[in-house]
């Protein structure tokens, strides 16, 4: 499938996604600043179409609601909501930094390699999108005691998975997150994820039992040098 995941924004706003797809797209939305910047205008547009259907409700409804409100406790999420927003606000610069790092990596790779690298990145992004939007995409979430979590969206038909680490805290500059696949007790590196929140494609998940994340010295390690901070079964 070559569909760009951005094209799910319009069906998302119209509530025209299957529940699974809605979850996957919301995970993507948390990562995609471009999508979020378009969401507001689209949602306002859709709600105006909806608002134009006005019809007077039965008068009893108001009385019933007022009575229910009088006996229904309200969520007290002011603290939570603000905490979530500030978490997001803190995460955004890190995501931007990660994106800038990718761009920098491509540009300092030199003139000769540049196009090849850019093509590789584009191919990787296309495959991520294919996994995220595949019909057999399944999601699992693993959270550590420290509050970090990764989402794993795996697609058997693509023999690949996308690991989304939105809440990974930023590491010191001499450390990286490294991803491992566990297969019959053997641990194999699936690549270095970077120093903060990010997304990563894992190719070849057939026979893989679990994914694990460790903190490693800059550049990554051949075998894990510390206990996993997270592990998720596939």
């Amino acid at each position: 499938m070559t569909t760009d995941i951005h094209h799910l924004l319009a069906p998302y706003v119209l509530d025209a996604l299957e529940p699974d797809e809605r979850n996957v797209f919301e995970a993507h939305l948390a990562q995609c600043e471009l999508c979020r910047s378009e969401l507001g205008g689209f949602a306002e547009t859709a709600s105006r179409i909806g608002g134009a259907q006005a019809e007077t409700p039965p008068p009893e409804l108001r009385d019933r609601l007022m009575a229910m409100a009088a006996t229904t406790p309200q969520e007290r999420p002011v603290v939570t909501a603000m905490a979530q927003r500030s978490r997001l606000r803190r995460a955004l610069p890190r995501i931007a930094v990660a994106a800038a790092a990718v761009v920098a990596a491509v540009s300092i790779a030199g003139f000769v390699n540049e196009h090849q690298k850019a093509d590789d990145l584009r191919a990787e992004r296309d495959e991520m999108v294919a996994v995220l939007t595949s019909s057999d995409a399944a999601m699992s979430v693993d959270a550590s005691t420290g509050g970090a979590s990764v989402r794993v969206i795996s697609s058997p038909s693509h023999d690949a998975a996308v690991v989304v680490g939105t809440s990974l805290r930023a590491l010191r500059s001499d450390q990286v997150y490294q991803l491992w696949t566990v297969h019959d007790g053997r641990t194999t590196s699936a690549g270095v994820m970077g120093r903060g929140p990010g997304m990563m494609l894992v190719d070849g998940i057939k026979g893989v039992d679990a994914l694990a994340v460790t903190v490693e010295p800059k550049g990554g390690s051949k075998t894990p040098t510390s206990d996993p901070i997270l592990s998720a079964s596939i």
């Binding site: 706003v13 949602a43 909806g50 608002g51 409700p57 409804l61 609601l65 009088a70 309200q74």
Partner: protein
């Protein structure tokens, strides 16, 4: 109104006419447990929420249930509303639409779901006691919908009012899914620009 403020001044009441609080202000008051603001918000948005639920679900009793769930959710979760991210009306109608679509998908299997996608222009205006500005907004929506291409119009209408997924929409219209997603997108862009919504 000049006449009113003149007489206000004459009576010694504050000369500045205070406009009634808008939906955004009301919803923020609801978040602080203000029952009267909840009633006023219902008076402002109740007909839009119920009308949208009716349009999607059709069955009046079921639509009333959904409208009730929506407003109860508004009461319970009002503190999540963030005015920086959009209007209160948009927030409430987004909740309403999702609940209506979830309800219609639960209630109806794909086989008995009605296969019509006509754009009926909504109820007569005398059904609802509308303010002039609301009436203008609704007329604008109708005019902008008429400005869509046939496929954009059908794709958006089937999804938004029938609760079809884009895959079901594609099947009903005999088009492929990527075409439908694209038509939904460019249709929304055209509507957004036609309505003068900030992008």
């Amino acid at each position: 109104m000049p006449a009113a403020s003149r007489s206000n001044r004459h009576l010694g009441v504050a000369a500045e006419p205070t406009s009634p609080p808008g939906d955004d202000e009301l919803l923020q008051r609801v978040a602080r447990g203000d029952d009267a603001a909840f009633g006023a918000l219902y008076d402002s948005l109740g007909s839009s929420v119920y009308g949208l639920a009716r349009r999607v679900i059709r069955d009046p009793a079921r639509a009333e249930e959904v409208a009730q769930e929506v407003f109860l959710q508004v009461w319970q979760t009002a503190a999540r509303f963030d005015p920086a991210r959009g209007r209160a009306k948009s927030w409430v109608l987004t909740l309403a639409h999702r609940r209506a679509v979830d309800a219609v998908r639960r209630d109806q299997s794909a086989t008995n779901r009605e296969r019509t996608y006509d754009w009926t222009p909504g109820p007569d205006h005398d059904v609802v006691d509308e303010t002039v500005s609301l009436r203008l907004e609704h007329e604008q929506v109708r005019r902008c919908m008429e400005g869509l291409t046939e496929l954009q119009h059908e794709a958006i209408t089937l999804a938004y009012f029938q609760g079809y997924t884009y895959a079901e929409t594609a099947e009903v219209l005999g088009a492929n899914t990527s075409t439908i997603k694209t038509r939904m997108r460019d249709g929304l862009v055209r509507l957004r620009d036609c309505m003068g919504v900030e992008s």
